[in-house]
Amino acid sequence: MRLFIAGLRKLVRRPATLVSLGLLAGLLSLILVAVGATARSRPNGAEALLLVTFPGAYVLILSFILGLGGLISLVYGAAVAGSEWSWGTLKNAVARGESRSGYVLLTFASVALLIGIGLLVAFGIGILMGLVGATLAGVSTNGVTDSASLGALPDKLGRSWFAMVEEAAFGFAVATLARSQLAGVGAGIGLYFGEQFASLFLPDIVKYLPFNAAMAVVVNTNPGGGGGIVQRLDPGTALVAVTAWLVASLVVAAAFTERAEIAG
């Protein structure tokens, strides 16, 4: 427990934590306010206005967070794991007799908890900004109190959190294998975009891959209702795929660290 709490303290103080949240919340706010301010004057503005029309906006905002937040989670996970190697702090812990796999898994548990907090904060900001956007666009905000949508939110938030944690775990594992913060972040982003690119050729396989599966845990359509090349998994199957990727990523990270020769 003390290791988990210490891990949380380290991450809360880490500049990347606030920068990641700020980036996500800032871009989300910018888009929602921009949609509210400009959608009515654009040719296809009606579709864009769905983003600030409640109660449907709840899921769309969440999907947006899942999309951009997933990439940020990937980078964040990679940065945390990679820096343990780059800075030599993993070496310190191992030399003090700490369990290697225990250290890795508890460090990731701290990452997962902070992602959950970040998701809630970003979602709260997103709703506020959605209301601002709706007001700017002159869209009714009555739907914000829709009880059915509000009742479904905890499940959707939980699924989103789980999906973002899986993406962070993927980055975490890649950076662990690379033993480097920069290499891990770079490789993680490369894989993220590589997966999107691969969907052009292998749509039936790509839907099971980490990022597409993560996007499908909340809704199996693209944000904004647009069609995509990849036919997404249904949320239930996506959850199974996400769980498999999460477990596999953590097993790889822990097993690699357990067996690695730590030098430098």
Partner: protein, 330 residues
């Protein structure tokens, strides 16, 4: 105090370690008694840091075994490290955390650490006034001191320090030396790797010299130095040839060498007790020394054992910025 007479804090038996085709350790046997300061000497690339990594479980030997505090240490014995403090290579910390926060984070790993230990150690290493500053603003010497504090967090019985004087200013080196001597006085064992011979000579009770992955000498400092006593004499350059002709008559052939004919330095292999006798002989021949030092020369022993040799001009090869020249040498 020989290894056989005391229980061992640290022992290795036939340690082999290879990185690809490069052999880092080729059968290292160490015996470090409890309660001593042990200087682990070797030139760069001799295998010192590999040994440190093996002793802290960061890497594992290809063959051979390790005993820490009298018990075997293998892959599954990580808890043996709870009684050991280590500073391996350069000190490693989270740059965005303060010194105090870094120690607290580290205290959450391994053996449990009393809450007041962090501030106690910050005070010990002289960092209390900078405890709240980010480590990224620390100098190398301050990081090194924080690294020593980190090594002491679990009140270890055995302390493993890899080049602990790196980056320390002279006052810091003296303070570190005093701290380590105090720890040894409290019954703790201090294992210090270094290539700075003067530092080891002032600090260590025992010395192990490693070269090309093997231990080439191990013993008390006195025992090792007994084979390397040197008297250095500086005279007028034009009198060097005459002195070289005179001295072998009293010391025997092969005992006198010219270190630098241009500056008039002679090196005589003789016990320090014979320095006055040598000086008198030269004076009786009308040769007066402007400088004379008598010392046991760890450097000579080191160079002889590790395959290094003094250069023809009397200068010694160096291993780093700090050099290896002993006190009083030219």
């Amino acid at each position: 105090m020989g290894p056989a007479a005391a229980s061992l804090a640290l022992a290795t038996h036939g340690l082999h370690k290879r990185y690809g085709s490069r052999v880092a350790l080729a059968g290292l046997d160490l015996s470090v008694p409890e309660g001593v300061v042990y200087g682990f000497l070797g030139p760069n690339g001799a295998g010192k840091t590999t040994t440190m990594r093996l002793l802290t479980g960061l890497i594992h030997p290809d063959t051979g075994s390790i005993e820490l505090l009298g018990r075997p240490f293998g892959r599954r014995d990580r808890r043996r490290l709870f009684d050991i403090g280590a500073l391996i290579e350069s000190p490693a910390f989270y740059p965005y955390l303060s010194g105090r926060e870094n120690l607290r984070a580290l205290a959450a790993t391994g053996a449990s650490t009393p809450a007041n230990k962090v501030d106690e150690l910050l005070d010990l290493v002289g960092l209390m006034d900078r405890a709240r500053d980010r480590v990224s603003t620390y100098s190398l010497g301050m990081k090194q001191r924080l690294g020593i504090a980190a090594a002491l967090l679990s009140d270890p019985r055995l302390l493993l320090l890899d080049e602990p004087a790196n980056g320390l200013d002279p006052a810091g080196i003296v303070a570190m030396r005093d701290t380590l001597r105090n720890l040894a006085g409290m019954g703790k064992t201090v294992f210090v790797s270094s290539h700075i011979l003067g530092e080891v000579r002032q600090l260590a009770d025992m010395v192990g010299i490693i070269a090309a992955g093997r231990l080439v000498r191990e013993g008390s400092l006195d025992d090792i130095l007994s084979g390397g006593a040197i008297v250095r004499i500086r005279i007028k350059p034009e009198e060097v040839a005459r002195a070289v002709a005179i001295l072998p008559g009293m010391l025997g052939a092969g005992q006198v060498s010219v270190q630098s004919a241009e500056s008039g330095w002679l090196s005589v292999e003789a016990d320090a007790g014979r320095a006055s006798e040598i000086n008198r002989s030269l004076a009786e021949a009308g040769i007066y020394a402007s400088e004379l030092t008598a010392e046991s020369d760890l450097e000579s022993v080191f160079l002889e054992l590790t395959g290094g040799a003094p250069a023809a001009d009397g200068e010694r090869p160096t291993f780093g910025a700090a050099g290896v020249s002993p006190k009083g040498s030219p």
